[in-house]
Assembly symmetry: C2
DNA sequence: ATGTCATTCGAACGTTCGTTCGGTGAAAGC
DNA sequence: GCTTTCACCGAACGAACGTTCGAATGACAT
């Protein structure tokens, strides 16, 4: 029941809103901030969305669906437990680095939603987490390692979801290089010798 | 120029406020929430602090000073680069787990301050970060590892500072056990064989 | 030309926010 | 005994918030 131009305009609004939410945070951002950022009147915004919280929900829901689909696709190409986990890591980190605003909003505003919308997003989160926990569990079985797959999965998510606090995708370290380093670091630890790829010296 | 009973009352207020900030977030928390939580009138609160933001600042500043001092003390006992880094990790994780409210507020509300107060906290953050980067750098030198100490330090902070999202200090895994697992995981990776300590089977 | 519908707007509404004002009662100082 | 100081409060203030209202605009079908 929605028309194409309507959807395109909504998409623009969501993209702009994600940037503002990422920069200022959800709660400090006012509808007047979004009005300014989108070049639209306050009332005009309400033609596209029923309220501020729905904007946050739409940003999180779309982003999460994409990251889950991408991860499933990446993992499906794996040839071993180790390989599948490394592919998951590389996909998540690279996706994060390439969609910093949306992923920051997803990570940082995880509890800014309420009610059904919060429950919806939490369901996606659980699905994604179980996906990773399956992988860490398989890897540990293969290596007879005695970590807890549950703890390992959360530790890895922490490592990866923290990057919005410091990483600059336009800096000297491109997203794929960051992803590779994270994969090596998590699989083999800080004390392991050089990763298999050539040195990144420069 | 402050009296002892005044300071004690302020300490109570800060402890209560930290819990509320941790539970609801800084911005959604209203002064009326804090009034209710402390059992004090709205105006009464302002007898102890000049404003809401100062509460956040005091919580973050005190907590950060404590964590920095504790880390310096823990690291000083180390006998090698590896040992010092492991001690840093164990201290940070255990401290985090034992002061979840304050550390969550420190991690999650890192950019909720403004102006001079923000600059103050950021200075402490830089000091703490450089402390860890020195350690990851030393460890990598010793092992001729080819990771980036900068990236490794941020990855580790992410791993550790994420725990407020999932860890329950009163659950089956006590803070020290969590700290030990994190240390092993970061030093040797997920694929490493069992850690040197006895198995935690059960 | 007329009616319809999507799109957009300026202006306002009611609420809630952080903060302040003017005060009260009790203890402390002299 | 009078005053000062401290700890605290009920009530209110002005500002800012999310949201809504009623109307204007333009495109397009009839």
């Amino acid at each position: 029941m929605t028309s194409a131009p309507f959807d395109e305009r909504l998409e623009q609004i969501l993209a702009t809103t994600a940037k503002v939410f990422a920069a200022k945070g959800f709660h400090p951002t006012t509808m007047r901030d979004l009005s300014r950022a989108t070049g639209m009147s306050l009332a005009g915004l309400y033609h596209y969305i029923p309220g501020k919280e729905e904007l946050l929900y739409l940003i999180q829901e779309r982003c999460f669906q994409r990251v889950i689909a991408g991860a499933a696709s990446a993992v499906s190409l794996g040839t071993s437990a180790d390989d599948r986990l490394e592919r998951f890591i590389r996909h998540h980190v690279a996706f994060f680095a390439r969609h910093m605003s949306e992923m920051k909003v997803l990570s940082h505003e995880a509890n800014s939603l309420t009610g059904k919308r919060l429950a919806d997003i939490n369901a996606l989160k659980r699905r994604y987490f179980e996906m990773l926990r399956g992988l860490t569990s398989d890897v540990e079985s293969d290596h007879a390692a005695h970590h807890d797959p549950h703890v390992a999965a959360y530790a890895l998510f922490g490592m990866m979801n923290w990057i919005y606090n410091w990483y600059n995708p336009a800096g000297p370290l491109p997203p794929e290089a960051l992803a590779e380093r994270f994969a090596q670091l998590f699989m083999f630890g800080l004390t392991s010798p050089a990763p298999s790829t050539a040195s990144h010296g420069g």
